[in-house]
């Protein structure tokens, strides 16, 4: 029996004249994610994308799992292609293909969609006939049109007849790459990979900026970030990672700035550097994993000071979330286990004993200016390290 995947694209149907363009990006993203599994034919018609494996032994379980991570797909179904576009073929295919689900269920209903109006039976007739056949084959079943355990879907489309069970929920969102590009500031903790995932869901392609401060931070910490980004790229597609050598800036900060402002000035420097990198990489926004009130540098006062360092829009998708809600997502995207590996990162180097929770912008700026970071910023930007990140599997 030939199986295919039918994907429903979501919000992108709302995009009017741009729709074609959105759909092309989505198809390209699907192609990229399925590429390691073999060759597929990917076509679209009637707000459904049809993915047809071109070889018999394609691992469709794996394909489904990958499809479940592609943004822009609301739901998907694994369906059997009927040998012919005839009612007889539908009656033969459906009860056999869905045997497992039907045996496990107590109630069912049939739903037919007939977008090929030349098909001789109308939708209610298809439902009646197939319902009857299923009942006679599985006499333990009852029909329940309101709350069935299983719904058997029949789709009569221009290019063939399909049967499948209830669709599976997709990743939602908008296809990666249709929303432009943004820089995610990534440390290696729990929050930033989640923030990256959330903004990729809104269609952004990501460039990641990571600050490294050897010898205060280790090469392992940097490799941990690589592994985190590999996990994120299962959803977000390829990510360009840029590592900024941050040691000299942090040492100057320690030597020339008041201790209680260490963190806030450090974050301003990170914003400043990230913004310059963003401009050089055609990125129009910054993304951070900040969550209001989580730590001293994420109070409303501190965020005002940090925000002022950037002219471009800063997305903070976690701002209103609790730690547990963030952790739940990190489990879902499989970054949690990596995030909690215990390496020092640049945010934990030289932490003040009593950070200022209500910093005054004027004093912060003055302190920053007095120290004079510009030459060191320039030097850091001359020594960026670039790593191309791709999903490992």
């Amino acid at each position: 029996m030939k199986e295919i995947l039918l994907l429903k694209d979501g919000e992108i149907v709302l995009k009017g004249l741009n729709r074609r363009q959105f759909e092309d990006v989505l198809k390209k993203n699907i192609r990229t994610t399925l590429q390691p599994l073999g060759r597929f034919e990917i076509t679209s018609a009637q707000s459904t994308i049809c993915v047809r494996p071109l070889s018999e032994d394609t691992d469709l379980d794996e394909a489904c799992e990958r499809i479940g991570r592609v943004f822009g797909i609301v739901s998907y179904s694994r369906a059997a292609l009927c040998e012919e576009k005839t009612m007889a073929s539908v009656l033969e295919t459906a009860p056999a293909y869905l045997e497992k689900q039907l045996r496990a269920a107590k109630t069912f209903k049939v739903e037919a969609k007939r977008s090929d109006k030349k098909f001789p039976l109308k939708s209610p007739e298809i439902c009646r006939e197939l319902g009857g056949t299923i009942l006679s084959r599985y006499p333990h079943l009852r029909v329940d049109v309101h709350h069935p355990d299983v719904t058997v879907y029949v789709e009569i489309r221009d290019f063939g007849a399909y049967v499948h069970a209830d669709p599976i929920r997709g990743a939602g969102g908008i296809p990666v790459g249709t929303g432009g590009k943004a820089v995610i500031l990534i440390s290696g903790g729990i929050d930033s990979p989640v923030a990256a995932y959330m903004m990729a869901k809104r269609g952004l392609r990501l460039t990641a900026v990571h600050f490294a401060s050897p010898p205060y931070t280790s090469l392992r910490a940097e490799e941990k970030v690589v592994r985190l980004l590999q996990k994120v790229s299962r959803y977000a597609g390829p990510i360009k990672m840029i590592t900024v050598p941050f040691t000299k800036l942090q040492e100057k900060l320690r030597d020339d700035c008041p201790e209680e402002l260490f963190t806030i000035i450090m974050r301003r420097l990170m914003m400043e550097i990230s913004q310059r990198i963003a401009r050089d990489n055609d990125c129009a926004a910054l993304i951070t994993g900040e969550s209001l009130g989580q730590v001293a540098s994420q109070t409303i006062g501190a965020l005002n000071c940090t925000d002022e360092a950037a002219d471009m829009v800063v997305f903070r998708p976690l701002i209103g979330m609790d730690k547990q809600e963030i952790i739940d997502i990190s489990y879902k995207i499989d970054t949690y286990e990596t995030s909690i590996e215990p390496y020092e990162d640049c945010c934990t180097v030289f932490t003040p004993r009593h950070p200022r929770t209500k910093p005054i912008l004027k004093f912060v700026k003055e302190a920053q200016q007095r120290a004079g970071f510009e030459p060191l910023i320039e030097e850091a930007l001359q020594n960026l390290k670039i790593t191309q990140i791709q999903s490992e599997d």
Binding site: D59, D61, E62, L219, E223, E392
Partner: protein, 380 residues
């Protein structure tokens, strides 16, 4: 072919020669990348990278995630970790274990020990085709079954067990039951895909696939919990602590990268076909392997000559085969007995096992040797 030109090594299910690339890797790790993967400094990081790479290479062959691979000292340890680890993990709710009666001794003996500790064990016999039937396994499973262990390929006959169907039937009856397969004889020869099989635990071994002895791995599906057999550091996510045997592990990784199941199968199938054809022309020889067994193993019985006598006779001709499995030296084979073979046939059984390096010359030497042995030894 082999180390000596005249050597005809046909005991590849017992162990294999280490590939040059794997041996080079082990040498390089021992002399250059000798750091402890847990050390914080660069030597440690270098070593850790090798460890990570090896983990990925093994995982890739199982189509699994790297984090699902736990390195062990070999197949026996992995089987022990699987059985005791899974049995202890749920012993308050479930104290029943199901296995096939033709498992490797490291599974059978571990189960015997668990039985002595108060677990109940059901052993399922294969049917006449040498294979364990899904219905028979499912019938043995109940609500209290903690673990099912069925090997993928039998080490004596090469019989391929329908593990995928067995596990599907088991999970349908009790979704809580942990499914383990000992894939030592299948790994590198057949595609062993963790998720296609529906396995929770898979044992593989290095030295059967041209890596050194002393390394194996247990695939532990994400979310499956095992109680460790030993305690110590943080290595292998605490499931198997102890400084990693990196030379062997890295060599195992290299050996995995050299896998070519399809190409090797073509070579070995042809050798098997040729061997079976020639051997059957010798009067008194019969085949014990099922017809659709994995061609890497050919089990025969040679007339009235006892296995060990024939084995030593062949060794004088520089032909090396095995009587039963090498781990069970001298004992009558539980596998062949389970198949219902007559005592005489079981007593004269020889296991011939191939690898990609074997040639027709090896088979000719074997067949000439068996024919001569039957002529000379029958009269003694």
């Amino acid at each position: 072919m082999g180390v000596k030109d005249l050597e005809h090594y046909l005991d590849n299910s017992a162990t294999t020669a280490v590939s040059a690339a794997a041996a080079d890797k082990a040498f390089q790790i021992m002399t250059k990348v000798y750091g402890n993967p847990s050390s914080l400094h660069l030597k440690g990081l270098e070593a850790e990278r090798e460890l990570t790479q090896a983990r990925k290479s093994v995982a890739a062959q199982l189509k699994a995630g790297a984090e699902e691979i736990t390195f062990t000292s070999g197949g026996t340890e992995a089987n022990n970790l699987a059985l005791f680890g899974a049995a202890y993990a749920s012993q308050r709710q479930r104290k029943h274990i199901v296995l096939s009666s033709v498992e490797h001794s490291s599974v059978l003996e571990a189960a015997k020990r668990l039985e002595a500790e108060g677990f109940s064990v059901t052993r399922v016999d294969p049917r006449s085709d040498g294979r364990v039937h899904p219905d028979d396994v499912a019938a043995a499973v109940n609500g209290g079954t903690a673990l099912v262990s069925v090997m993928l390929v039998n080490n004596e006959t090469g019989a391929v067990m329908p593990v995928r169907d067995i596990f599907a039937a088991v999970k349908e009856k009790n979704p809580q039951t942990v499914c383990h397969t000992d894939a030592v004889q299948a790994f590198g020869k057949l595609p062993v895909r963790a998720r296609v099989l529906g396995a929770d635990l898979i044992t593989v071994s290095g030295h059967k696939v041209h890596a050194p002895k002393g390394v194996g791995a247990l695939y532990i599906k994400k979310g499956v919990r095992l109680v460790p057999r030993q305690y110590g550091g943080e290595q292998e996510k605490r499931v198997r602590p102890g400084t990693e045997n990196l030379p062997a592990i890295a060599a195992f990784g290299v050996a995995c990268e050299e896998f070519d199941p399809d190409g090797n199968l073509a070579v070995v199938s042809e050798l098997n076909r040729y061997a079976a054809e020639r051997l059957l022309q010798i009067e008194g020889v019969s085949l014990n392997s099922p017809k659709d067994a994995l061609p890497y193993v050919l089990n025969i019985s040679a007339g009235r000559v006892r296995s060990e006598t024939m084995l030593h006779f062949l060794e004088e001709q520089d032909v090396f085969v095995s009587s039963g499995s090498a781990c069970a030296k001298g004992k009558p084979s539980h596998v062949l007995s389970a198949l219902g073979l007559s005592r005489e046939r079981a007593d004269s059984a020889l296991r011939i096992s191939f690898c990609k390096h074997n040639t027709k010359a090896d088979i000719d030497a074997l067949c000439d040797g068996v024919a001569m042995g039957l002529r000379v030894l029958a009269h003694r």
